[in-house]
Symmetry: C2
Subunit: 251 residues, 2 copies
């Protein structure tokens, strides 16, 4: 049986402040925990129903707490509790960016956890190993990000960094191209795209910030094909636009 204190300890991890204090985060759902267990990320504790434990052979190194469904519903960050919740050690996010080669997504103040999760799936799908986030972007260990990344988070290196610093370093070093979608960029379908560089994605409401826009060396545009006679479409969702852009880099 879970003590009140134990429940409090786990639910505190719904909150960024306590995740950072303890250096751990939570992962829920059979599919996502399944991917986690394959990933090599360090799992500290698993809370699970007897049924889940019977169906899955868990490593002896992971401490396991058997819970009733009712207890699971007390610790979950989801609307409907899953039969398993893992407490996982956070990998460091202040690590070095590979400034020599490779494609990288750069998130300039992306706020929506669902978008961040979708961006993880895009990066994973298109073989982009690094996501570099401005310090004001949503926390990648937010339970909604983890959930909506569908396990792709565990295949990626996520770095939080001042973006001005990142792009200054880039100018001082290898000068990888910096791509970003702007209103008046080159047509993405005909532009020449390299296999190394930064792909900058902006905030859901305000797009790419002026400070970051300065560093874009190749502005791209997804052309509009709208037939609407009563107003043009406003924009594409940031993860949809990222999917279209990343596909063009790899096709």
């Amino acid at each position: 049986m879970l003590s009140k204190n134990r429940i409090k300890e786990v639910t505190a991890l719904h909150n960024k402040k306590f995740r950072n204090l303890e250096n751990v985060f939570i992962v829920e759902g059979e599919k996502v925990v399944g991917d986690l267990l394959l990933s090599g990320w360090k799992v500290l504790t698993i809370f699970a129903t007897p049924d889940y434990i019977n169906r899955n052979r868990l490593s002896g190194e992971i401490s396991c707490e058997v819970c009733t469904e009712d207890e699971m519903s007390k610790i979950t960050a989801l609307t409907t509790a899953s039969p398993v919740l893992a407490v996982v050690e956070m990998p460091p996010t202040d690590v070095e960016v590979n400034m020599q080669s490779g494609l990288k997504l750069v998130l300039d103040n992306v706020k929506d956890p669902g978008n961040f999760g979708a961006l993880c799936r895009i990066a994973d799908w298109f073989g982009i190993d690094e996501i570099i986030c401005s310090n004001d972007s949503v926390d990648c260990f937010n339970p909604k990000v983890v959930q909506s990344s569908m396990g792709s988070l565990f295949h990626l290196k996520v770095v939080y960094k001042d973006l001005t610093e990142l792009f200054r370093d880039n100018l001082a070093q290898n000068k990888l191209p910096v791509y970003g979608t702007l209103m008046d960029g080159e047509n993405i379908f005909t532009a020449e795209l390299s296999q190394s560089g930064f792909i900058v994605l902006g905030n859901e409401s305000n797009g790419i910030s002026l400070e970051v826009e300065k560093y874009i060396t190749k502005a791209l545009t997804i052309p509009i094909f709208s037939n609407a006679k009563n107003g043009l479409p406003d924009s594409l969702n940031v993860s949809v636009a990222a999917g279209i852009v990343c596909a063009q880099f790899r096709k």
Copy 2:
């Protein structure tokens, strides 16, 4: 001042049952209401703060109720109330599909309002005028769909229809191609794509249903470029996949 009854009448429209009973739905937010007013859709009543009314010249044909911010927060379906909420007549969704030509999105049990909204923006952006939804798909007049479509809903024709019936009609008539992304389809980046046809999108968890899959005449695949050594990415979000597919049809 809004009476309790009036508040009840508006909040009832958060619910599909009452929307269908009254044949009206609600639209909120300055940007989205702005697009609505340009669209030609029939606006019945606008609830707005004095400040909004001063800043916007509204047609004399629309009945307008002046509200305090507190009253706006009582009728909103959003987390934070906007200064304006419009009650709008629903256009019919049991209309004929154009079976002769044009690209159409077909939603096979898409459930998430945010995805539906993102799909409206994609259709609008890429000049796809029709969205045909299975009867079990989310209601396009759901406040979250309206909100996340960012005004694109007002540029589209949305039809709810039994999809088996739709595709049987298609077989009996013009036989437009039916596209869908499946695991073992043709590479979307090299496949020949026509400018008329149906693009089928599946449910968030289960993909395209078996009954609908039978009617796909050209299966497509977005190839995976993942580098992950510890498991392949599961899938792309349905709206991200749709964005990549629609872009390939238009590029």
